[in-house]
């Protein structure tokens, strides 16, 4: 007896249906948010904010007016965390992979632990440990704890794929350890460095837990501000703020996706 439709086709169709509905569930809030920022509807409570009524442009101007400080804090934070994470993480990954020392495996494992620590614990720990430090410094420390593991992993993977014999070849051709690193290892690591910079940027830009708990009225990151805006402002204002938040992160994720694929192919071919 043969079925009218093959089971494989049914399974395939079901799979596609599940994937599409999942994607729809993920995208739906974004659609609502985007609509909220652009549709001029009284029942969203737009009028209640007073300074509005001049369309979408006016709304965004208003939102930027309230949250410019938080936005600047976030930009400054990301601008500090991304280079610091790379400057600390990449050489550390190189040391762990290429110049292991007694106990380096333990140190490496230790560096990964923040990923498993809840943000609240980390934030409270930072406050208890160094509560008198400038708040911005604490924010940088908290973000570094979460982003360094990403750099370590990304660069470690890139180094593991990279054949160590290229470095040996450079040495035999007269390059000292630093020259070999600068002329051979580093150029080969550029895709990995760009990838980890994007990852650090995405995580740091969107990090909420630590940022929220360490926030002061003067030093507040944009995601922390987003929380406040959702609890206190009208929906169109919150929606516009969300779109501003998403503006840099979506391109970053697309770039990560594209680069990750490229990295993967390179890894297979070499």
């Amino acid at each position: 007896m043969s079925l009218p439709v093959s089971p494989r086709k049914v399974a395939r169709a079901a799979g596609i249906a599940v994937a599409v509905s999942l994607a729809a569930c993920l995208v739906a809030p974004l659609v609502v948010t985007a609509a909220g920022a652009f549709v001029d509807a009284d029942w969203y409570g737009k009028r209640s904010e007073g300074a509005l009524g001049t369309g979408a442009a006016g709304l965004f101007r208003y939102v930027l007016g309230i949250w410019s400080n938080a936005l600047l804090t976030s930009l400054r934070l990301v601008g500090t965390v991304v280079p610091l994470a790379l400057l600390i993480g990449a050489p550390a990954a190189f040391a762990f992979r290429r110049r292991p020392f007694p106990g380096s495996a333990f140190v490496e494992a230790l560096a990964m632990t923040p990923l498993a620590i809840p943000g609240i614990a980390l934030a409270v720990g930072l406050l208890l440990g160094a509560g008198r430090a400038p708040r911005f410094g604490l924010l940088v420390a908290g973000h570094l704890a979460y982003t360094l593991p990403l750099v370590l992993k990304t660069i470690s993977n890139a180094l593991e794929r990279e054949r160590a014999d290229l470095e040996r070849a450079a040495r035999s051709l007269g390059a000292g350890p630093w020259q070999a690193a600068a002329w051979v290892t580093l150029p080969r690591l550029v895709p990995g460095l760009v990838l980890s910079a994007l990852l650090v940027f995405a995580v740091s830009w969107g990090e909420f837990n630590v940022s929220f708990l360490l926030a002061t009225p003067l030093v507040q990151t944009f995601p922390a501000g987003l929380y406040t805006t959702y609890t206190t402002n009208s929906f169109p204002v919150a929606a516009a703020a969300t779109l501003i938040f998403l503006a840099p992160i979506v391109p970053a994720f697309l770039a990560i996706q594209a680069l990750g694929g490229e990295e993967f192919r390179r890894g297979l071919s070499s």
Binding site: L166, R168, S172, L173, G174, G176, Q179, W183, R188
Partner: protein
Amino acid sequence: MRLEVRGLSKSYGADRPAVASVSHAFPEGRISAVLGPSGSGKSTALFLIAGLADPDAGSVLLDGRDVTNVPAEKRDIGLMFQSYALFPHLTVIENVAFGLRTRGVAKAARMERAREVLETVRMGAFAHRRIEGLSGGEQQRVALARALAFRPRVLLLDEPLSALDAKMREDLRVELFSLLRALALTTVYVTHDQAEALALGDELVVMREGRIEQVGRPADVYHRPRSPFVARFLGAANLVAGEVSPGGDDLNLPFATIEAPAGADAGPCWAMLRPEDLEVVALKDADFTAAIASVQFLGPVQRVRVFAGRQELLLDAPNDAVLGDGARIPVRMKREKIVVFARERGELPPSPPSAPVVAAASVDDSPRTVN
């Protein structure tokens, strides 16, 4: 430049030394072929000479100066890697010029020199290509050019042809031979391929389990191996369990008795006979007759597997001889070619490290995987 190693030792595990107290002075301006099965420590020895691995003991001397503690980049030793290890992010000419760039040679000068070396390996037309698109043979030439461009004092080659297919290997072997000869550099050529070692080396160094087993001119080592291992490793060899009579006069083999080679010690022995030293002759000149078991046509000769009684032997017959399976042929042993090794009573013949008829398979050698 004279290159010498003294008591060089290196072990990666606790119990298995990769190189065990190797001492040797490589002849100046000549090619030394270092031959050994994979895992015999020959590549490790090369890395120790290049300074890319630190010896546990012993020293490396260049022109009598101890360079054991000199880092790799200061030794001026050219090394061609088995994997070629070309820099994928650089072009062909940038790869070749790398060793000049590290030495601070100005761009124009190093590009000119790189181009010149690329011409000598007939890769001039590929100067601005990326490494990725090159064939194995092309990469091999670029790797050689890169190792030569900075005018090294000593050249080390680690299995330079092993990554190529058989036909390409033959062609490049001839080319490499004339190129290396013309350079007259002190060269150490590591290989597990006995044909390569015999053809390229002014001197042959046979290694086994981290030690030097025998050193000599290729022909001498081939004709007068010092151990059954060397006999078997350098080409095909019949090893027949026999006995030299108490007076040292007779050599008793299971299928014949002949006069013993001069200087043979009395007692149990292995008699080594290469296939080409067994001749098919007229019956009246024969030492024994043998039954043909199988015939392999190799081109220049036919390699025939025969049985003399219960003793299996390989012999080379002319490529136009008519040989039928099962036929009996009269065989004579070339007396002057017989080599005798002492044997323990009941000792089994050493198994050949590589198949005796076909050249050794390309098996990877260690240090690339050892970090």
